[in-house]
């Protein structure tokens, strides 16, 4: 199904600047109809969630900062579907979507942003550190690059125990220039660890264009050779391409084929974080990419494949309802209380450093 549909749908949308269809990796296989619907549903859930999160910032109900995946949903959704429940996710501060993609409670995520007791981390971690170990979300990390090395360890212990789990680490284009990236990729390759490194290339760090500070045009793919890996570039706004490529990489890792490095080209609709209007980006670039919206693209593809608009509208409505009730539940939950301040520094549950 996917392939034929894809061609049609893509024909409707012209590729935005920076996305060269010719250079893209073409994964094999097709997307089953039920998976396709789930991919759509997850992208819509993420989209509606992030929009709500944005509104709550603006009402300053969410304190601190926050980094949204608006416009980048296809990557988290595609991997979310391709991964097995036993697989591990290592996300960044921009990890709402990746956490939801593994089935984490939306109320738990929303509650964490609001600093409430119902938060995934009881409000102690915040938007940048979402974690849900039960669903394989091994954490979101806010220091660029660090989690790429941590993912090695999760993969190592799986191999050590003979479990066929794979660790997937998501990171940005800017992260490819920090030392930890280099150390992680090399050790993963040397030890043939089951790790899939996913670079979400949205062309910018915070406010600086990646091409102005990177020695090669493709920040991740052009580094793959330095670790004996293949440079794979995919359309990060195409959930099918992400899903099918993810499935291949995950399978290879499970078979002992070692790590993969995938560069997914995408774009963030908004600024880097709450504080950022994103003014440093050329207007036409923003417009072209906003038009090349992964959710719009995917919906039109499904419609072209014969899925009834009504069915998709129902999915949209369900997602909105889920976001609304998650918001209400989170708001209804009390702020994290004093009783949690001094707990869980240590495995004994406390924080005593002296007798």
């Amino acid at each position: 199904m996917a392939v034929s549909v894809k061609n049609q749908a893509d024909a409707e949308l012209t590729a935005p600047p920076g996305l060269d269809p010719a250079s893209l990796y073409q994964p094999s296989g097709t997307v089953a109809p039920d998976v396709a619907l789930t991919l759509y549903r997850d992208q819509v859930r993420m989209r509606r969630f992030e929009k709500r999160a944005y509104d709550l910032f603006m009402q300053s109900l969410v304190k601190g900062t926050s980094h949204l995946s608006l416009g980048m949903e296809a990557i988290a959704a595609g991997f979310g579907q391709a991964m097995q429940p036993r697989d591990y996710t290592f996300a960044t501060y921009r990890g709402h979507a990746h956490t939801l993609a593994r089935g984490a409670s939306m109320t738990g995520v929303m509650g964490e942003l609001l600093g409430r007791e119902c938060g995934l981390l009881s409000g102690k971690g915040g938007s940048m550190h979402l974690t849900d170990v039960e669903r394989g979300v091994m954490g979101s990390y806010a220091i660029v690059g660090a989690h790429l090395t941590i993912a090695l360890g999760a993969a190592w212990s799986a191999v050590y125990r003979g479990e066929d789990r794979v660790a997937v680490a998501f990171f940005g284009d800017g992260a490819t220039n920090i030392g930890a990236f280099h150390e992680a990729l090399n050790l993963a390759a040397v030890w043939k660890l089951p790790v899939v490194f996913v670079c979400e290339n949205n062309f910018y760090m915070e406010y600086t264009a990646i091409d102005s500070v990177t020695a090669v045009p493709r920040p991740a793919a052009d580094r793959a050779g330095a670790y004996g890996l293949e440079g794979v570039v995919i359309n990060g706004n195409d959930a099918d391409a992400v899903y099918l490529t993810a499935r291949e990489a995950l399978e290879r890792a499970r078979q002992g084929g070692g790590p993969s490095l995938i560069e997914a080209i995408t774009y963030r609709h908004g600024g880097h974080s709450r504080a950022d209007p994103g003014k440093y980006r050329p207007k036409d670039e923003v417009e072209a990419w906003t038009a090349y919206d992964p959710v719009v693209l995917y919906r039109s593809r499904l419609v072209a494949a014969g899925v009834a608009e009504a069915e998709l509208d129902a999915i949209d409505a369900a997602a909105q309802a889920e976001v609304d009730s998650a918001t209400e539940e989170a708001k209804a939950s009390p702020p994290s209380g004093a009783e949690r301040l001094l707990t869980n520094v240590w495995a004994d549950g406390g924080s005593a450093w002296r007798n």
Partner: protein, 325 residues
């Protein structure tokens, strides 16, 4: 005299020094065209251009390595480490290379450089973006450490740091960036290693730093209302440390209280307490009390973070209780 925000004061100090000295350059992530993620370097890129204000990749080791190499060959670079927590990814360059190389070479090289960093909590950024790391730097021989509390001190101390021939870790408190204060017109150059007595009292000496200074002053007002007359000292500079002022002020009141934002163990407060308990033991009338954040990572939720960092009320209560005992 003009009213500036703390962040505007940073940009003003850098501009003042860059205008004065061609060898002063600015380097860091997003410091240029974007004016810094804390907007503390706004206008510098337009004014001094891309040759003197350089945006970098996310490569803190390369940023500070380049800063070090430039300083040892004639430039006076100012580097920005966006959040002080990120010193952890480039600590080798700071603690092992910059801090030690002058001593190791018996003076063949010097490092006239400044490393600015957004330090401290209160912004609900969570444990990896809220640390007060002034003690990380204070414990390393070869680093000078400064942490201003007001816009005027930002300008004067940052200018002094740039002119200093040694490496200075300049801690800008994130929670103070939006705060305002009067700053005299014209060139301002302060002196490193000088504490300021902001309030003189007879009952207790409260020593504070950075964002704890306004809180200590507010607490002193509350204490005054309860009949306790407290001295408040703004340390301003941890290395060099103005021990004379601190010792003198403690001797006058006989009671010392330190107010630290950093976690409990091995902070600058412990160092001050140790100096005082060795050097003016006889003038102490009672136990020395440190008021600090508990020894925990900082929580993100506003309610929790506010409980963790010393508040005006907590300072007041602790001092009051200690003096009653």
């Amino acid at each position: 005299m003009a009213e500036l925000t703390y962040r505007e004061a940073v940009a003003r100090a850098i501009a003042q020094e860059m205008e004065r000295d061609e060898s002063v350059v600015l380097i860091g992530e997003d410091v240029g065209a974007a004016g810094g993620v804390f907007k503390a370097t706004v206008g510098l890129f337009d004014k001094f251009g891309p040759k003197r204000v350089r945006d970098t990749p996310i490569s803190e080791q390369a940023i500070l390595g380049a800063t070090m190499g430039a300083a040892m060959t004639g430039l006076r670079p100012i580097a920005e480490v966006m959040f002080a927590d990120f010193f952890a990814v480039c600590w080798d360059i700071v603690a092992n290379q910059i801090a030690k190389s002058r001593y190791m070479t018996d003076g063949q090289v010097s490092f006239p450089l400044v490393i600015r960093a957004g330090n401290g909590g209160g912004l609900r950024f969570g444990a990896q973006h809220s640390q007060s790391i002034e003690n990380w730097a204070m414990m390393i021989p070869g680093l000078k450490v400064v942490a201003p509390a007001t816009p005027a001190d930002v300008v004067g101390l940052l200018a002094a740091a740039v002119r200093d021939d040694d490496p200075v870790v300049f801690c800008e408190h994130k929670a103070l960036y939006a705060s305002k204060g009067e700053v005299p017109d014209g060139e301002i150059v302060d002196k490193l290693g000088t504490a300021k007595v902001l309030r003189s009292g007879s009952d207790a000496t409260i020593v504070a730093l950075a964002n704890m200074v306004p809180r200590a002053l507010a607490a002193a007002e509350q204490l005054a209302a309860n009949g306790i007359d407290a001295t408040v000292v703004d340390v301003r500079s941890l290395v060099p440390l103005d021990t004379q002022t601190i010792l003198a002020e403690v001797s006058k009141t006989g009671r010392l209280f330190t107010v630290e934002e950093n976690p409990r163990l091995c902070g600058w407060g412990a160092e001050v307490v140790s100096i005082v308990s060795e050097e003016c033991f006889d003038s102490l009338d009672g136990p020395i009390v440190r008021i600090t954040t508990p020894h925990i990572p900082l929580p993100s939720a506003d309610a929790l973070e506010d409980m963790a960092i010393p508040s005006v009320d907590r300072i007041t209560e602790v001092v009051q209780k200690a003096l009653q005992e």
